[in-house]
Homo-oligomer: 341 residues x 4
C-alpha cells in the first residue's frame, strides 16, 4: 500500500545500497576502524565547514540521544527538554534508564524558547535548596522538531548564548536534519549548527540510510573513552562499515542534501494538494511532516487506500493525522493520494 | 590484505545482500512489524523444530546479552558465567551497567561444568547470609565458547538439569552458533539447544549478516513489554526490516547452515595447514577459531602479509595468536597463508 | 536561635530517646531481626487496624521513596506524581537514578486530582505508540503535601479507585503523616489510609524520631527479597534496633499521635498569631507548615531573631516564607515570635 | 543471651549516647550543617594529623562503599577488590547497582598483594582489546579485612605506590578501623592511612556508634556536589546531627581509640581462652574477630548458651565459626564462655 506513514518506510537510497554492495567483500577492521568510516568522517567535517569537529557513528536516534546525553551529563545533572521533546515522550524513558532526569520546560510548536530556558536556570540557582535538586546540565532541542517546525537562526543563537553563559552544552537532535536544512524557509545551515551547538547529530535512518546517525562533537568535547561507553551500552557495531559506507555515500556529491531536497519538494506538493482539497491543517510545517485534521469517517475510508499516521483525537469525531514525505516519496504516490482524498 | 583476523571482516553473504536490494523500495511498517520479520521468525521456529518458541531480532551480540540478561534477571539476581565468558570480560561491563552482577565461576577451555555450577548454587543457599548476597539467577554459556570449544550434548543436558532444578534460566550465547552446529564434532543440534536452553540467540553478525542476532525464548518466557525494554535501552531499529530481511534470507534454503559449513571446511583445511607447518597449537578447536603459538619474530614477519588476532603473550618471546575462518574465507586465502607461513 | 525553620530541627522526642538509652546495652541481632522491630511492627499493624499489613523500617524519606518506587515499579513503568511532588523536585533525581521516570501531572495546592490522573492514564493507552512510552505504573501522593495540604477522604477514595481499576499501586508519602492525621480538619484516619493505599509510610524523622520511616505494605505486596533490595541500595542498617526501638516508643501509648497533636495545636496558635499580626498568607494549611508573604525588609529584620524557611520570591520585593511547628515547638517560642513580628 | 555474634550487637557507647541526650533539644540546621558535624570533622582532621583532609558522614558501611566507589569511578572504570572483599561478596551487588563492575583479584587471608594488583593493571593495558573491557579505576581494600587480618605498613605503601603510578585512588574500607589501629601487632597509624590512601572511612557502626561512618578524602578529592550525590542515593540524613554528635563524642578525649583498645584486650583474652580450651583456629587474627573450627556437635551444644557466627562448613562434620569482641564485650562474658566451652 502507498504509504505516507513515516519517513522510514523504505530501505536505503539506491546509491547508498549500491556502495554497500560494491564494498561488501573487502576485508575490513571491525568496530568503526575501517577506511569508510574515516572517509565519511572527513566528508562530514568538510560539510560542517569545520575540520576540527569529532564525528562518531551510532545506529539509531534513541540510542544516540541516550548515549550523548548520558556521557555528557555529569553525575548531578539532568537535561532540559521541551515537554514534547522526543527524549521526554517517545523513547520509553531511555534517558532515565541511564540515571538522569529530563527537566521539562514548556514548548511552542515543539520549540524551546531561550528566555524560558534562561528563566528556568536562573530560578534553579536562586532556589536555596538547589543542592537537593537535579542541576540543569544540558539543553536538548530537535531540529526539525517533533512537529516538523524549525528554529530560526536567531532563536538558535539565543539558545546557544544561554548555554554558553551557563557553561552547559546545547545538543541538537537532527534525526531529520536534512529535511530541516533543505526546507524552503530554512535560514540555518549545517555550518551554523556546527558553530552554535556543542553536539548534534545528522540523522541517517530517516534520511536515506538503512540505519545510522552521525554524531558531531563540535568543541573537542567527545567524552573520553567514548568507544567504551558505546560498547557498555550495547551499541557498538562489530561491522562499523555498515555505518561508514552509508555515510560515505550520503556525503559524496551532496547526496544527503539532494535527497532531502526531494523530500521537501514532495512535501510542498503535498501541502498544495491538501489545501486544494480543503483539508484543515493542524500544523503546516516547513519540513516533511504535515499534520492535518480529518473527520473520523474520512480517516476510516482513507486508511483502506493509503497509510498515514494517527496523531491524536481532535474533539469527539475528528482526528489529527500525519502525512510524511521522504527521499523515497514519488509524484505518482502524491497523485494517487490526490485521487483518493 | 588477506585477513584471518576475525569472523566479521566481510559484509554480508551475497545472497543476504541481494535480498536487501530486492526488497529495498517496498514500503514497510517500522520497528519489526514488517512481513520479513514475520517470515524470518516463522522459519527460525521451524528450524528449531518447535513452533512455540518466541523469536526477537536485535542488532549485536553485546546488546543481545545485555538485554536478555537484564530483562530476565530479577531485582536480586546476578548471572553465573565462566570467568572467560564474553559478558565477564569483553563487553565493557554491559551487564553491570544494567545493575546486575556477573557471578564468576571457574572454566575449562571456556566451558562451565554443571557440577561446579551446582556446587556454587548449593553453597550460596547454604550461606546464612545469602540474603545479603547476589542470588544466582541465570546461567550464561557461550557455544561455541570464546575459545571455539563446544559443549557436548550431555554437558548441556547436565547444565539444563541444574538450571531447571534451581528454577533459573539457561542462556546460550550463540554469536557463532552456526559454526558450532556445523562443526564436524558437533553432537548438539539447533533443536537440542531449543529444547535444553530457556533462551539463546542465533548469531548473524559473525555468520553471514551485516548485523543482527535472533533471540529465541523457548519457554514462552519472553519478558513482558519486550519492545519497550528494547526501546528503553536504545536498541530498537526503526527499520526492523534490516534484520528481518537478513534472517529471512539466512533461513531460506538452509543458507545459514551452508555458509557455516563452509567456514568449518575452511577451518579444517586451516588446521591441516598449520599442522603441516608444525605450528604449535595453544587450543585446536572444532570450530572456526584456532589458537596457535608463534615466535614473536614470526609474528612480526607474518603480520606484514596477513591479518590475524593477538591473544596474549606466551612466555617471554612467544605469542598466542588467533586465526579465524568465516563464511567468506576462500581456499585462495588459505593457499596464500600456506605460502607465507 | 529559636527556630521555625523545619520540623527536623530537634533530636528525638525525649520518650523515644529514653527507650534508646534503656535498651542500649542489650545484645540484639542485627539488620532488623531484633525484638523491638518486631514489637514496633506489631503495634503499627494494630494502629492501622489491620493485622495483615507488612511493615518495614527505613532511615529517611528520600530513601524510602526511592526504594518503594523502584522495587514496586516494573521494568517498563514510571511513577505518576504531582509536578510539585517531593520525588519530582527535591530528591536530586533519586527516582531517575534507579532508572525510572517520574510522570508529571499538574497539581492544585500540591494535590493530584483523581480525574486528571484517570485522564492521563486513559490518554496513555489511547496513544498508538504507547509501547514506546513510559507506562504509568504507580501513583505517588504526599499527605500532608509539600504545601501542608490534605486530601479529603473522598479524594483519596477516588484516587484509590483509579489505581485499582488500572491495577497500579497508590503510594502515599507520609513523611509528615502524624501532622496530617491530627489536623483539626482531617477526615482521614490511619485505618483509612491502610485501606485505600497499597503502600504508604509513617514518617518518623519529622515526627519525633532521630531518623526512621515505617513503610506499610497493605496488600501483601511487599516486594520479594525486600531486605536484599534494601541492602543493595545501601540502606540496610546493621543496628536495625535504632529504628525498631524508636518506632516501638512512638507507637506505645499513642505517643506518635499525641506529639503530632501538639504540633497541630502549636500550628493553630501560630496561625492565630500570624492573623493577629495581619501577616498575609500565601497558603494557610491545616497542618504544621504555614506559608506567608513578608516584605523583604521584614524578612531581613526577622531572620536575625528567629529561623524560618525561604520558599520563593513573590514579586519584586516580597518573599514567601515558611514557618513550621513540630512536636518540639513550645508556647514560649510562639510568644517570642509574637514579640518580634 | 551472651553474644559474640558480631561487633554490632549493642547500641552506642554510653558516652556517645549521653551526648545525644544532652544535645537533643537544641534547634540545629539539617543535612549536616550543624555545629556538631563541624566539630567532629575538625577533630577527625586533627586525629589524621592532616588539617587538609575533607570529612563527610554517612550512615552505614555498604552505603559508604557504594557512594565512595560510584562517585569516584569514572564512566569506564571498575573497582579492583579481593575476591573476598565485602563489596564483592556481602553487599548484595551494591556496586554493580550503580553500574560499575567489581574486578576480582585473588587474595591471601583477605588481603590484596601490590604485585598482583600491578600485574593485573599491566595485563589490562597490554591487552589489545582493553577499550572493550572495564578499566581498573580504583583499588578497594579493607583494613582490618573481612578475616580480621591487617596490612603491614610496607604492604600499604606498596599498594599506594601502584595506585599512584597508575593514577587511580586507593580506597580503604575501615568499617572496623579502630580495632585495626589498636591491634597489638599494628604498625599502621591513622596518620599513615591518611597519607597512603586517597580515601578511607572510619567505621562508627561497629566501633561505638549507633550508626555512622566518617569518610575521609585525603587529596582534596571529594567529588563535586557530593551532597547532591548522597541525596540522590537516598543517603542524606535530615538530622545530620545524629552522625555529627556521635563522631564528636567518639573523637573527644580519644574515646574511639580507647574503646577500640578495650575490644582488642578482650580479643586477646578470648584467644588465650580458646587456646586454653584447645580449640583449633581457622584464622587467628590480630584484631577483634577470631575464626575457629568446632565439631558440629559442639556447635549445637554451644549455641544454646552463647551466640556466635557461622562462617562455613569445614569438611563433613565440622564448622568454621566466628567469635567477635567489641567495645561492649566484658570479662564476665568471657568467663561465661570459658565456663561453657
Amino acid at each position: 500500500m502507498i504509504s505516507f506513514a513515516s519517513d522510514y518506510i523504505a530501505g536505503a537510497h539506491p546509491q547508498v545500497l549500491k556502495r554497500l554492495v560494491e564494498t561488501n567483500l573487502e576485508p575490513l577492521p571491525g568496530y568503526g576502524g575501517d577506511i569508510y568510516c574515516d572517509r565519511a568522517k572527513e566528508k562530514i567535517r568538510t560539510a560542517c565547514g569545520c575540520p576540527e569537529v569529532q564525528v562518531e557513528f551510532l545506529t539509531g536516534g534513541t540510542q544516540t540521544n541516550q548515549i550523548v546525553i548520558s556521557t555528557l551529563l555529569r553525575e548531578h545533572e539532568g537535561v532540559i527538554a521541551a515537554q514534547t521533546g522526543h527524549v521526554n515522550t517517545h523513547e520509553a524513558g531511555a534517558v532515565e534508564y541511564t540515571g538522569h532526569k529530563v527537566l521539562e520546560v514548556p514548548q511552542r510548536d515543539g520549540k524551546l524558547d531561550a528566555a524560558e530556558v534562561e528563566g528556568y536556570i536562573r530560578a534553579f540557582y536562586a532556589d536555596e535548596n538547589h543542592e537537593h535538586m537535579v542541576f540543569p546540565g544540558m539543553v536538548y532541542i530537535s531540529h526539525p522538531t517533533e512537529y516538523g517546525t524549525l528554529y530560526r537562526k536567531a532563536e538558535l543563537e539565543a539558545l546557544s548564548r544561554v548555554c554558553r553563559e551557563n557553561k552547559i552544552p546545547l545538543f541538537l537532535d537532527g534525526a531529520r536534519l536534512g529535511y530541516g536544512l533543505m526546507s524552503r524557509g530554512a535560514d540555518v545551515t549545517l555550518a551554523d549548527i556546527a558553530a552554535l551547538c556543542d553536539v548534534f547529530y545528522i540523522g541517517g535512518t530517516k534520511v536515506g540510510a538503512l540505519c545510522g546517525e552521525a554524531v558531531v562533537f563540535t568543541k573537542n568535547n567527545r567524552p573520553p573513552h567514548f568507544t567504551n561507553a558505546v560498547k557498555k551500552r550495547g551499541a557498538l557495531l562489530a561491522k562499523g562499515r555498515l555505518l561508514g559506507v552509508q555515510f560515505d555515500a550520503l556525503f559524496t556529491d551532496g547526496l544527503y542534501f539532494e535527497l532531502s531536497r526531494h523530500a521537501i519538494e514532495m512535501a510542498e506538493q503535498l501541502k498544495a494538494l491538501l489545501h486544494e482539497k480543503n483539508v484543515e491543517f493542524y500544523l503546516e510545517s516547513p519540513t516533511n511532516q504535515q499534520f492535518v485534521i480529518l473527520d473520523d469517517g474520512q480517516v476510516e475510508t482513507l486508511k483502506k487506500q493509503v497509510s498515514f499516521g494517527f496523531w491524536e483525537k481532535y474533539g469527539s469525531d475528528r482526528t489529527v493525522v500525519r502525512f510524511a514525505t521522504s527521499w523515497s516519496t514519488t509524484e505518482e504516490e502524491l497523485n494517487f493520494l490526490r485521487s483518493v482524498l
